[in-house]
Symmetry: C2
Subunit: 371 residues, 2 copies
């Protein structure tokens, strides 16, 4: 499959959206997606990470290079890419964090080659930060235990449980349909590109991480580097924005939890979280997939309870089931669904209206131009 | 460490370069690095990959989700990001492939926050493609064997050897100095940012791959998607461009092997490779580091022999030891060295003068504007 983004598809999508009568006025904000992209700044960097002296080089082919098996490596670091459009100073920076068995690719071009949320948010005027979770993808992971087991220094049951999704499991859990290979009639995921989506699904090495997951503090650190940011999590990382705010809320301008779980916070934690505007988003067909139906029904109920408590504590919070906002058939991968940009417009409106204002300048980037 | 690219540093660097009298005229080509970056197109996609039905989900926490342990996953795929500047049609597209224990981060911002080759090449008018090697970073890897050993289905010695570099090994092998922590007096790597560089070093999972390494064919496929490309490899992947050309040379416009090894090809392979312009690049101090000295001396000798054979077969080939071209003190990580953009200018001149012309249009990207 090759990626030919189709302008015709975008136009037809917008028309269908307008005809459906959802979100009148959104189309007026839609930037020209075929125009050149003008960036004030872009780059990549790391947050967090700690040095450890370990036998990490045990994978060294014997005799090829004569280095010690014990040396200093970094683990727990989090890789981040960012882009900032010209004139972005007035909009809230947004951090987009992927879920289980995925990487920042989640937010880039969709499996069928349409524009993803990352570039779209930049075109809507936001600086966008794309981390790979600590222990995933370009953030690396700590392979020490695997190498120790290989050398007989630890028993096999100490190996990390490395989780990934097969195609049939993803179909059910991501709610493309009630069971593989049957789709929901109104589902929005580009299932014709399911093979390409499979390329995005990579092993999850979070079982190699210490507790608490360093990604929480790294997200808070990233928000500081960005001079304040709205944190967006998805699925496995749905509640990571809240966890980051509990680690250090001082630069968290808002949290958005997409299709995640809502473990109940303590009263003290709730009082802290209630100061941060919170949006919880779920797609469609929450109870309709054969195996994961009860999981999604419980997630929705837990998140409703969380939002009720935030509101009772005086917080700004919204639990949004997308069908109640006019978006039908959205899947767990709603940032890649056919109506992904319409959902983005709706979400950016919420951020514009609700996110806290930032007060600091971002610490990363070379700030080329003066705007 | 935060990334504040310093315009002053860039200017001073250029001045020093001009004073040294190396590559007169290069400075005139240098684009304004503080100007906004204008992209005709950008995106990400995958090449290659094959489906396998396996017990890949054995990492599934027991009882949390009731999916089968046997499902279809993708392995061997190669993740690629790309950017194309406005007006890029006349310059050769360039693929930049990282080496061992690294990712595409190699080519982005340097550890001390200067501009890397990826963005710089775009600013010099080239479309740039940044893959993560198959089994590395966002390309994912096949965790089946690790999970099988964990469950007692295979013995521990079947685990892949997962290689990474510690700080002291990297210091020697990457030739920052004769031995850690002593630097060469004239070395060019920003060793004050060694901790940040450590964040880039991630485990190498190539031992999980089948033979031949799928990255070879994936690179050839990527060259086709790009409508023809110059392939650049580094270190572990130094000879991967040649391997890609041996798999399918039809879209390979040139190969650049940076600080890699040159295993001797057969005569038939050599005849094929001699049709492709070839640049082999080494930095400074090849014999001067305590442990890796002999390794580098041998790599240089092997690559000299390779270039002699290419020339004898009528090929366009250059073995460039950078000190002989006026660049002193360059390390193994020369794309991150303080004079990285000067070396880039020299290399882009070679590509301009020697790469084959492309005849096809690239197949990826949405080709927003008409240039």
């Amino acid at each position: 499959m090759r990626h030919q983004r189709s302008v015709a598809t975008l136009v037809v999508g917008s028309l269908a959206f307008a005809i459906a009568g959802v979100g009148a006025g959104v189309a007026a904000d839609r930037p020209d997606l075929t125009a050149p992209l003008v960036l004030k700044d872009q780059g990549s960097f790391f947050v967090g990470g700690f040095e450890t002296r370990t036998n990490a080089t045990t994978g060294n082919p014997a005799g090829q290079i004569g280095y010690s098996n014990t040396d200093v490596i970094k683990t727990g670091q989090m890789y981040v890419q960012f882009q900032a459009p010209k004139g972005e100073a007035s909009r809230a920076p947004i951090v987009l964090l992927h879920g289980c068995c995925l990487s920042a690719k989640t937010w880039e071009d969709t499996p069928d080659g349409r524009m993803g949320w990352a570039e779209y948010f930049v075109r809507r005027g936001h600086a966008v930060y794309l981390p790979d979770q600590s222990s995933r993808a370009r953030s690396g992971f700590d392979a020490t235990t695997i190498n120790q087991v290989r050398l007989g220094k630890k028993p096999p049951e100490k190996l990390p449980a490395i989780f990934t999704f097969g195609r049939e499991a993803a179909w059910d859990l991501f709610r493309f349909g009630p069971q593989y290979p049957e789709p929901f009639a109104d589902q929005q995921f580009p299932i014709e590109a399911l093979g390409e989506f499979g390329n995005q699904v990579i092993p999850d090495l979070n079982a190699t991480l210490p507790t608490p997951n360093p990604t929480y503090a790294n997200l808070a650190d990233l928000a500081r580097s960005a001079g304040g940011a709205v944190l967006v999590g998805h699925s496995e990382s749905g509640f990571f924005p809240e966890q980051a705010a509990l680690a250090d809320s001082s630069n968290v301008l808002g949290v958005v939890s997409i299709e995640g779980q809502c473990p109940p916070p303590t009263d003290a934690q709730l009082a802290s979280l209630a100061k941060i505007p919170t949006l919880i988003v779920f797609g469609d067909h929450l109870g309709d997939s054969k195996i994961s139906g009860p999981l999604w029904t419980k997630a929705l109920a837990d998140c409703k309870a969380f939002v009720r408590r935030l509101k009772a504590a005086g917080g700004t919070a919204l639990l949004a089931e997308l069908p109640k906002f006019g978006f039908k058939g959205n899947t767990h991968m709603l940032m890649q669904d056919r109506n992904n940009l319409e959902v983005a417009d709706w979400m950016l409106d919420w951020i514009r209206d609700n996110a806290l204002r930032r007060t600091a300048k971002r610490a990363v980037g070379k700030n080329r131009s003066g705007d």
